[in-house]
Symmetry: C2
Subunit: 347 residues, 2 copies
């Protein structure tokens, strides 16, 4: 029997609980072996959104340990209560308590994964403002990635800075890994250092080699238009990126570039009848990588954190406070995130 | 009888001549009213690429004035010889003479358009290195846009700096207009000024209002991830872009933003059954706008120069020296550029 997979509930005022409930209703077989780390009351409220007079019933079963998940029947939603039961926040309203609960669920799931009690974590969206407003320990973290990084570093006995992590975004067509994330474009240029580029390539190599079972073909985008055109507009390709790729090659990576950013993503696109030329593209900054991943639509995007000693994936969308509680949000990105976590575990 | 449209031949060592010949062979009706401003010998060589023992014949007719185009029968390629006949360059080899001839064709076509002898210019690709290597007057120009800008400014009696132009890239799904083009990313950030952003929005507004026959809906991308998230990472949105958009609104533009760059392009995408939310996106730098335009493939991309007192479009690809002379290059982007020029003229 494989280890269970924990799905963190996310912010109870957002769409996290309802997309989880929807996934259990629409794809009960795919959800086998999963449980929610969250609040039983919040999950019951979300399940009830789908249970009108003609709707299907989705019973919520409270479990007290991850291992109990296999005793819960299919078409039933197992929830492990993290902390005390919560009073329910209003849908779509910032709530300090909901932020605190969401943070506690992530810490709980990270610790369980690090101890080897769960196989992987899939995180439903939390709200950064709610997290920052709690006044609790979670206020120090910008989001999931930083929380998981800190928890893993503590477990390993190192500092967070000693545990470099990177964000990979993927959908059915494209995988892209980002050198930096939430920095101004000016600061993102400054973050294009040999160390950061090399780390990004190596983390991509290690993760995809495991995932694909072979040496992955990694393309690296340049920073400047036309990758600087031989230094005519920008020298980062010559002075920073190319030397970093040389070092990566010396360590066995199949890495090419720096390529002109405007055409490398289309070359890495996997389409029916048009095989991708690369397994992933390393992007030099947030929007360079996210514009192509998101261009075809958000529904199936998955976020994978590379560099952690645990498997963590998440849907590529936020709490969507504007539609929370209306049962219209799609579960497809969450289901895709779960499938990606399973793919990463099997490999 | 509408005025003729001039197609400049581009660099004779590249794919320009053969994609023009191919367009005449494959879509003779669409090419009616067009002629090539170029070299008769180079166009004959290109036409002969398609005329094997079993291939169709494509006669080249030499004309001496634009107005003669209507006397040339369909399925015949009219060429106006610009300057003296050229010795033919080797396919795919940099040639000073080919660069000079390509430059002369662009100047000739610009002057004809400015004098009102041709309705529009469609430019086949020239090679910037060949242009720079000529030692002639063309060596000062980075490419088509700068040549046309200089020629138009001279015609209008102003300096090139007084005639701001912008590049619009469009395909069947998306139109994007760039604040800057061939600058390093660092310099492109510096080019995000109130004046440049406002000019870009106004040129987009004027051109699309004419094209679409109504006030266009313009979306403006931010510079930083998440459009700076309220100043958390980057203040250009607050200090530069938003004030520029206020000024544009005061002049009657329907302009919104600055939007998060990673999701605004997908919202402006026109798909069957999913109407676009905007008619164009103003992008803050080269790759921000070109990554989404190119992501779906290059074949149908069209480049339109905004701000000139003439209509100019071009295919969104280069001379492709690696395949020149092999008759494999597609004419679809050239045909699309011609169609776009016609659309701009009708409106």
């Amino acid at each position: 029997m494989p280890l269970p997979i924990a799905i963190t509930m996310g912010d109870a005022a957002g769409i996290g609980p309802e997309i989880i409930a929807r996934a259990y209703l629409e794809q009960p077989q795919q959800m086998r072996g999963c449980f929610v780390a969250g609040d039983v009351g919040a999950m019951r409220r979300a399940a009830a959104l789908f249970c009108g007079p003609d709707g299907p019933a989705l019973p919520v079963a409270r479990i007290s340990a991850a291992a109990e998940v296999n005793q819960v029947p299919v078409r039933c939603l197992p929830v492990l209560q993290v902390g005390a039961s919560q009073s329910l926040p209003q849908w779509g309203r910032l709530s300090r308590a909901a932020g605190e609960c969401a943070g506690a669920c992530v810490f709980w799931a990270a610790d369980s994964a690090l101890r080897g009690e769960v196989a992987a974590i899939v995180t439903a969206p939390l709200n950064k403002a709610a997290l920052a407003g709690t006044g609790s320990a979670y206020a120090d973290y910008a989001g999931h990635t930083e929380m998981l990084q800190a928890r893993a570093a503590q477990f390993l006995g190192c500092s967070a800075a000693q545990l470099p992590v990177r964000m990979m975004l993927c959908n059915d067509e494209l995988r892209t890994v980002l050198v930096s994330v939430h920095l101004s474009l000016r600061d993102a240029i400054a973050a294009v250092t040999m160390e950061n580029v090399l780390q990004t390539v190596m983390l991509t190599h290690i993760s995809l080699a495991k995932w694909l079972g072979r040496v992955p073909r990694i393309a690296v985008a340049g920073l400047n238009p036309h990758a600087g055109e031989g230094g005519r507009f920008g020298r980062e390709e010559i002075e920073i990126i190319s030397p970093a790729l040389e070092l990566a090659r010396a360590q066995g990576c199949d890495v090419s570039g720096p390529w002109p950013p405007d055409t490398i993503f289309m070359r890495a696109r996997q389409r029916p009848g048009v095989p991708a030329q690369f397994d992933a593209v390393v992007a030099m900054y947030h929007d360079q990588g996210l514009i192509p991943v998101k261009y075809l639509g958000l529904e199936h995007g998955v976020n994978v954190t590379l560099g952690l000693p645990l498997v963590r994936t998440s849907p590529d969308h936020g709490t969507a406070f504007d539609i929370a509680g209306t049962a219209v949000a799609s579960a497809s990105s969450l289901l895709k995130a779960l499938q990606t976590a399973r793919d990463l575990l099997i490999s």
